[in-house]
């Protein structure tokens, strides 16, 4: 009996790791027409833990790749030009919040296998490091950023 309890207590940190302490707000996926190959996922991710974590990507049934991206701004002949850059990870400091929004950091959902319509809901498993920690998120498919 005591042995089982000790064993369970030893398992506890692993169980905790399975439910990474993050708070996710307003997750949504940009609805795109069927001719589009890619779209983007947006949300706010708050790190409730005492340690820094990194969002490294995701897995979903609707696309082949889910990658963290940043939006870059460069000045070209006096004009502001926006671009995208794939990054290995987006870091969230302890207590910090990562904001993924149009025109900013986002998760690019590449190689769409299906095109969810506005009002649908899709699942993405977010991957965090250190470790290979997974967090399931259900996203609303929207044409417009929610207020």
């Amino acid at each position: 009996m005591i042995k089982t309890l000790i064993a369970l207590l030893m398992l506890a940190p692993i169980l905790f790791a399975d439910g990474l302490p993050v708070k996710i707000e307003k997750p949504w996926l940009q609805a795109v027409p069927s001719v589009a190959s890619d779209t983007a996922a947006f949300m706010k991710i708050q790190n409730l833990s005492q340690a820094s974590i990194k969002l490294v990507g995701g897995v979903t049934d609707i696309a082949t790749h889910v990658e963290p991206m940043i939006t870059t701004t460069q000045n070209n002949e006096g004009g502001k030009m926006l671009g995208m850059e794939s990054v290995p990870a987006l870091e969230i400091p302890p207590g910090g919040t990562l904001v993924l929004k149009p025109g900013g950091k986002h998760l690019m959902v590449m190689g769409l296998k299906s095109h969810p319509k506005e009002g649908d809901r899709v699942k993405i498993v977010l991957l965090f490091s250190p470790g290979n920690q997974k967090v399931d998120v259900e996203l609303a498919v929207l044409k417009q950023e929610p207020k």
């Binding site: 940009q30 609805a31 795109v32 027409p33 069927s34 001719v35 589009a36 190959s37 890619d38 779209t39 983007a40 991206m69 939006t71 870059t72 460069q74 070209n76 002949e77 006096g78 004009g79 502001k80 030009m81 926006l82 671009g83 995208m84 149009p102 025109g103 986002h106 690019m108 959902v109 590449m110 044409k143 417009q144 950023e145």
Partner: protein
């Protein structure tokens, strides 16, 4: 060196002898020119301020005649901006493989379009000009642009036609290949402005990407321009 300086001095002395300066007249003229210049700048500035005060978007003061681009529409037909004379036109540059900026821009513009009163809406045309003519052929645009609103028009063209249109509106873009990857795999970096052309064919306003989500303010700008403001 010293020889040439001496030369300049003797030259100046010659000019002074031939044309004695009336200092009073000179200073009066100088002050007059300065006053005229200052008032000209002040007038320009106050007119800019008074025009800008009326609009949410960045105003072009004075408004520029809109460059009449020649492109190809989503049905494969030749298209000129001047065909829409009499309508207020809102357009932006982008590409259909764009996952982030372009769908957001088109969704924001669709929201603005739907928020317009019926009468105003019938006088407004929204367009999307591709800066990726290699992939965005008319048939691709036809499946992409009307998704956001059935009335929206997608435009493409030859490299040169698109380069000319972009240049005229100060839009910039460049192809970005991923190192080591297939040449067909690329992104487009591009400027993300929306341009407002008045029904009389003047480029009046400019919206940066992050201004587009304030639907009511853009609706107010459109109504103001339609009213001749």
């Amino acid at each position: 060196m010293s020889k040439s300086i001496a030369g300049i001095y003797s030259g100046l002395a010659f000019v002074r002898r031939r044309f004695p300066i009336n200092w009073r007249a000179f200073i009066t003229a100088f002050v007059l020119v300065l006053t005229l210049l200052a008032s000209f700048l002040l007038i320009r500035y106050t007119s800019y301020r008074s025009v800008q005060a009326k609009f949410y978007g960045e105003a072009l003061v004075p408004a520029k005649a809109a460059y009449d681009f020649h492109l190809v529409d989503q049905n494969g037909k030749a298209f000129q901006l001047s065909q829409l004379h009499g309508k207020l036109v809102l357009f932006s540059f982008g590409f259909t493989h764009c996952p982030n900026i372009c769908p957001t821009t088109l969704s924001d513009l669709a929201k603005v379009y739907r928020a317009l009163p019926d009468k105003a809406r019938s006088n407004v045309q929204v367009m999307f000009v591709s800066i990726d003519p290699w992939r965005d052929r008319p048939e691709v645009l036809k499946k992409y642009v009307p998704y956001f609103d059935p009335s929206f028009i997608g435009l493409t063209g030859t490299d040169d036609q698109i380069a000319a249109a972009a240049k005229a509106y100060g839009a910039t873009y460049e192809k970005m290949h991923h190192p080591g990857e297939d040449q067909d795999v690329y992104f487009m970096n591009h400027s993300a402005f929306t341009y407002l052309i008045s029904p009389d064919g003047n480029w009046k306003l400019l919206y940066d990407f992050d201004l587009l989500n304030d639907t009511e303010k853009i609706v107010a700008d459109i109504e103001h321009v339609l009213a001749g403001g």
